[in-house]
């Protein structure tokens, strides 16, 4: 069954006129139609958080959303965090604090943490851990990610490495 329908998708400030099947997940449309492969796909059941993007500023799972559902909403992927070559302070902090190893979870982590810092510029460690609890990392043990987010918020811990 080929029942493609036209869709106007707003991603990282740009508008894209594409055709999608209703069954196509937002994660797949971002990667395959728009070539935005920074959005990673892990479990496709909402558990791992790798595909997290911002929809109207809020972190949501792009693997549990059909692209056709988000017409008219603002999508932000990891590619949209900066408009140029530079890194955001949060990305710099990830680099400085070795907050990634394989990098698979990193886009989801960055988007979740970006939304957190927008909502609460100085979160407690508990709040940081709660916020990223839906993003699974199998390399770092989370400590360096928490350190990086706290550092980017200016709430660096006393024993900062």
């Amino acid at each position: 069954m080929n029942n493609k329908v036209p869709l106007k998708l707003t991603v990282n400030g740009g508008t894209f006129d594409i055709e999608v099947e209703p069954r196509w997940l937002l994660s797949d449309v971002l990667r395959h139609q728009l070539g935005l492969v920074g959005t990673h796909v892990g479990c496709e059941q909402g558990a791992c958080g790798a595909c997290t993007v911002l929809i109207d500023g809020k972190p949501e799972r792009s693997c549990l959303t059909f692209a056709i559902q988000v017409e008219g909403q603002q999508i932000t992927t990891v590619e949209g965090l900066t408009q140029d070559e530079n890194l955001t302070p949060l990305q710099e902090a990830f680099s400085e604090h070795h907050a990634l190893q394989c990098g698979y979870c990193t886009p989801g982590m960055l988007l979740t943490a970006t939304a957190l810092l927008q909502q609460d510029p100085h979160p407690s460690e508990l709040k940081v851990r709660e916020a990223i609890s839906g993003n699974v990392c199998r390399c770092t043990g989370y400590q360096f990610i928490v350190d990086a987010i706290l550092a980017a918020s200016g709430n660096a811990k006393e024993d900062q490495r």
Binding site: R23, E44, E60, R61, L64, T65, A131, S133, G134
Partner: protein, 285 residues
């Protein structure tokens, strides 16, 4: 891991949704989709038509009308966690909401979706039963109010007909504040056991578990001041429920979590909503 093909329709009124559901018996409603889309990704369900109700403005209210707290079925879990009216009139929902999935899930998943999905380990069906709420549903025959205690039939099954849509949940004003606790492997995972406990201050009350039996049941119980006697009471209350899997550990967890929910119900003022109280159930038993 990709859904089968389906037709997609976006609606802006309940009437429109009900009409589509009536004409296509294997259609499914999609609200937040946080339970439905995983099932579709696994092809455990393959609806021919998805009726997207996210555009129905009439389902997005949170209203305290002096007698009832009314929450529209499209209200997201995170909106419930953040809503000041809910915190004022039914703070146990504020606490429970913070245990639903993770942030990204809470931003999309809805009250109505969770009530209809009827996962026995989920927070809202048990809340509805514990709070003596009514669930308002609309179908081709019109609107009907179903007491939450009659809404659930068992695992993932309710009295909701395929052509009916949940409109709102109506919660009566509370005489006593309920306590809440939940145990999961990590915060946000499915509950291994959870409970709502209501204490009337006179040694009597109710306990409603989730993740323990096939559906939530509000069980009357005595609530003695003495810990050992209370443990005995939780055991007695559990005895009335069909616990089908892993009985020994499930009963152990259910007793512990009911006790924690009761302890939570005893907290005064700001302590009740403190991060420590909310995280209470997360600590190892």
């Amino acid at each position: 891991m990709k859904p089968a093909a389906f037709e997609y329709r976006r609606v802006t009124t309940v009437t429109e949704a009900v009409k589509l559901l009536r004409d296509a018996p294997d259609a499914k409603v999609i609200a937040g989709g946080q339970s439905l889309v995983p099932l579709m990704n696994f092809r455990l369900t393959r609806p021919s038509l998805l009726v997207d109700v996210n555009g129905i403005k009439a389902l997005q209210h949170v209203v305290w009308d002096g007698t009832f707290l009314r929450i529209g079925s499209l209200v997201r879990h995170q909106q419930i966690a953040d809503n000041v009216e809910i915190q004022k009139h039914c703070p146990v929902l504020t606490v429970a909401a913070k245990h639903i999935g993770h942030w990204a899930i809470r931003n999309r998943g809805t009250m109505g979706g969770s009530l209809a999905h009827a996962d026995p380990a989920s927070e809202w069906p048990a809340a509805a039963v514990a709070l003596n709420a009514e669930i308002e549903v609309e179908g081709p025959q019109g609107v009907r109010m179903v007491p939450a205690s009659e809404f659930y039939l068992g695992y993932y099954s309710t009295v909701l007909q395929p052509d009916e849509l949940i409109v709102q949940i109506r919660i009566p004003s509370l005489k006593f504040r309920l306590g809440f606790a939940e145990m999961a492997r990590r915060r946000g995972d499915f509950a291994l056991a959870g409970a709502y406990v209501e204490d009337d201050g006179n040694g009597q009350g109710f306990v409603t578990w989730f993740g323990v039996a096939d559906k939530p049941v509000r069980v009357p119980t005595v609530l003695p001041g003495n810990l050992e006697a209370r443990r005995e009471a939780w055991q007695q209350a559990l005895g009335t429920l069909p616990i089908v899997d892993d009985k020994r550990s499930r009963i152990h967890l259910a007793v512990q979590i009911a006790e924690r929910a009761w302890q939570h119900s005893q907290l005064e003022g700001a302590k009740y909503l403190s991060e420590e109280a909310i995280a209470g159930g997360d600590q190892p038993l």
